[in-house]
């Protein structure tokens, strides 16, 4: 360990005005991206950057992150804002028109920085095939600087970016990737490995290699995205860019409009969320309710205190758990919503005396058994989507018919302990609503709630008849994202 005595350690570097302004602007951007930054944290960040060299970009970034971002879920949003906001600052991020690519030698091991090519771009002189070849080698070696060089050159050539053109980054990304044939390169990389080996690799070995190359390709793609972002910022300015790049936090991602990537982040978010919810709810149960005073035990205990009842003893509270019925529309547009809700409900099924689940489109099927004794709720949810018998005529939602089936088959199993949750957008394709069934159910059940994944302003427009049903329910809720779902369940239990 080294003990260091800086020249005047109590006085950190004084920051000039420009840096403070820069930080203030950055924090404004973070706030408008939805990150809650308090005044204390703002001040801490200002203090923190005095202690790190501004030239060290990573350290600078982590200093800001550790003072400003206190939820792991918010990290990605922070990173995006950071990249955009600081993308034009710092020497290595200058937009240079020549890409710092080495000449492509025929030898295997040219160094990435062999360049004595002064001035305008060696990269520009490459043929498309040579650029492709260079990418192949960069990926094979996992050579990050070379990957960055190729990414810059590729964006410059293929993205077709023109100043002032009002298209988003995804468009440019698509155009760039289309010209690069990454799948082809991946296959080539795997084949080359085979050539150098004596035996053909096992599936296991190939899987590992594929994962490794795939990771490098993902990194390369990130470089391309960064380059596009950099050029867009140069063109449009930071503020405008920050706005277009703003992505919702995972807990705010809309179930009905999630992209593939967002779906993945949702699936990741659901486990910790259910764990958190489960432990909070069981705590609530334990603390919220104390049973009646247990005289006998209190007196027995008081003996050790000379007959003074210092420590009152309570009986265990009688468990009073509701039984829950989940009835979910799993047709296309709302399937994801149903999946997450079922997942959540089963993850906290300990809070209920029993959970039964029913899914429908125009027909209806009970799927309770899919969830019994399974370890992986995800698997069960997956089976629901592929195996349940929910199509009656044409596979377009028909709430009226589905409710009819439910009522006939299961209606008399509803009792005063039953809580019912109905999930769906109530877009009924102009079929009959049969809302009298909901009224009958409400009369028998302990309570009944309707969860709709559509924004409230869309309710009862077009073929949505949620109002018809909601009038008989104890409540109808807009549940478009994990945050709202969690809040609902928290209240329910």
């Amino acid at each position: 360990m080294t003990v260091v005595q800086p020249p005047d350690p109590t006085v950190p570097v004084e920051l000039g005005e420009p840096i403070l302004d820069l930080l203030t602007g950055f924090i404004i951007q973070l706030r408008s991206a939805g990150l809650p930054v308090s005044l204390t944290e703002n001040l801490d960040a200002m203090e923190a950057v005095k202690h790190v060299p501004l030239s060290d970009r990573d350290t600078f970034k982590y200093a800001l992150a550790s003072t400003l971002v206190k939820h792991h879920n918010h990290w990605k949003a922070f990173e995006t804002v950071f990249e955009v906001y600081f993308s034009l600052r710092g020497p290595e991020y200058d937009i240079v028109d020549e890409s710092d690519l080495p000449e492509l030698d025929d030898e295997e091991h040219d160094e990435p920085d062999s360049g004595d090519q002064a001035g305008a771009g060696a990269g520009d002189n490459l043929t498309p095939e040579e650029l492709q070849e260079m990418l192949y080698r960069a990926l094979m070696r996992g050579d990050q600087p070379m990957m960055r060089g190729v990414a810059r050159q590729a964006v410059k050539r293929y993205a077709g970016m023109e100043p002032g053109r009002p298209v988003g980054g995804t468009y440019y990304l698509y155009r760039t990737l289309r010209n690069l044939d990454l799948d082809g390169i991946l296959e080539r990389l795997l084949e080359q490995d085979q050539d150098t080996d004596d035996d053909p690799p096992s599936d296991f070995e190939e899987r590992l290699r594929r994962d490794e190359y795939q990771e490098r390709i993902d990194k390369f793609q990130k470089e391309i995205e960064a380059e596009i972002r950099r050029r867009l910022v140069a063109d449009r300015g930071i503020e405008a860019m920050a706005k277009t790049l703003r992505k919702p936090l995972p807990e705010d991602v809309d179930f009905m409009h999630a992209s593939r990537e967002e779906m993945a982040s949702l699936r990741k978010a659901i486990y910790p969320l259910t764990r958190k919810l489960a432990s909070r709810l069981s705590r609530k149960r334990r603390h919220g309710r104390k049973g009646p005073l247990d005289f006998r035990s209190t007196v027995r205990h008081s003996l050790s205190y000379g007959g003074v009842p210092v420590e009152p003893k309570f009986r265990n509270p009688r468990p009073h758990k509701p039984e829950i019925f989940v009835i979910a529309d799993i047709s296309g547009s709302v399937a994801a919503f149903a999946r997450f809700t079922l997942h959540l409900v089963y993850a906290i099924s300990g809070q209920f005396s029993k959970v039964r689940s029913f899914v429908f489109i125009d027909g209806l099927d009970e799927v309770t058994t899919y969830f019994e004794g399974v370890e992986d709720i995800n698997e069960a949810v997956h089976r629901v989507n592929s195996e349940a018998d929910v199509v009656w005529v044409d596979g377009h939602s028909d709430y009226g018919h589905a409710l009819g089936v439910f009522w006939e088959k299961y209606g008399n199993e509803i009792g005063p302990r039953t809580s019912i949750m109905i999930l769906g957008d109530a877009r009924n394709n102009y079929h009959a609503s049969e809302s009298w069934i909901i009224k009958e159910m409400a009369d028998k059940a302990r309570n009944i709630h309707w969860l709709n994944p559509e924004p409230r302003s869309y309710w009862d427009t077009g073929d949505s008849i949620v109002g018809d049903y909601a009038q008989h329910c104890d409540g109808a809720y807009e549940v478009r994202n994990l945050r709202q779902l969690e809040a609902f369940v928290d209240k329910l239990v």
Partner: protein, 293 residues
């Protein structure tokens, strides 16, 4: 005032000397914590080195580690201080026999002599350098968090009968959380935040090399690669660093030098705890192009 580290790189190097392999983020936050004299809240999946970080920082700075292990029901008496009632009672009885002035007695029994210090107070009143580890803080109730706030922001403890005890020197404080519940904003505001995730392949390989005696670089490399692949699969619980280390030790015991599919699936239960995860991962690992891609 002197600091332990000149810069972030020095933190990394010194941590490596005590066998803790950090990265830019970890080293950066430890560096800042010392400069800003702020506690660090460390979150992240199980077994990724959160607790170890505090221990290693204590070791490398030559400080004493004081640990407060949190659990549901932890209270002031266990975390901060408690009066030694027995001793107080005894004293009262002797004094009564001697017919003393009550006010005097009362002053007397609420003095240092009758105070049982618990970890938080101990850390504050220490004369030697200490690192305070408040482990698994998410296990205490939200209301109990309030106990910590005074210490975390002012490095002091108020005891009604004694007054305020202020730290003689500011300890480095680590709080860890497995994120089983959201911590209060008040607590988070007082801390620097660090999320420790699973390490990347290079770092995990280094960890294996330092933690498992006599392991070859080649085997460590294979281990890190396989674990990295397994973590790309959607599982209930991904393998943690400690499980990687356990696996490496198992493979050493078995005398394995090359990991093939059979070795991997035969020993995978060291890495994965759930039966459904084991099934899924075994299946995936024997598929060349990955099902979950």
């Amino acid at each position: 005032m002197s600091f332990n580290f000149a810069d972030v790189a020095a933190v990394r190097d010194d941590l490596a000397k005590v066998d803790y392999l950090s990265d830019e983020a970890i080293a950066g936050v430890v560096f800042l914590a010392e400069r800003l004299q702020k506690p660090i809240l460390v979150e992240g999946p199980a077994g990724t080195g959160k607790t170890q970080l505090a221990k290693s920082v204590a070791e490398m700075t030559g400080s004493r580690l004081i640990r407060l292990q949190c659990y549901e029901g932890l209270d002031e008496a266990k975390a901060l201080y408690e009066w030694n009632y027995k001793k107080q009672l005894l004293r009262i009885q002797t004094e009564r026999a001697d017919d003393h002035d009550w006010a005097e007695v009362s002053d007397d029994i609420f003095s240092d002599e009758f105070l049982l210090t618990r970890p938080l107070l101990e850390a504050i009143s220490a004369d030697d350098p200490v690192v305070l580890l408040i482990d698994e803080v998410d296990r205490v109730e939200v209301e109990t968090e309030a106990l910590l706030l005074e210490i975390l922001s002012d490095y002091q403890v108020s005891i009604p009968e004694l007054g305020t005890i202020v730290a003689k020197q500011i300890p480095l404080v680590f709080l860890t959380s497995n994120n089983t519940r959201e911590l209060s904003e008040a607590l988070k505001r007082r801390c620097l935040y660090l999320h420790i995730d699973y390490p990347d392949m290079e770092r995990e390989k280094e960890i294996v090399l330092t933690k498992v005696p006599d392991i070859t670089e080649n085997l460590a490399d294979q281990i890190a690669r396989v674990v990295r692949s397994i973590r790309t699969i959607e599982l209930k619980k991904a393998p943690s660093v400690s499980e990687t280390i356990d696996w490496a030790r198992t493979l050493m015991l078995l005398g394995v030098s090359q990991i093939d599919e059979k070795v991997a699936t035969d020993t995978i239960s060291v890495l994965l705890k759930y039966q459904s995860d084991i099934k899924k991962a075994s299946k995936e690992l024997s598929t060349a192009d990955g099902l979950s891609a």
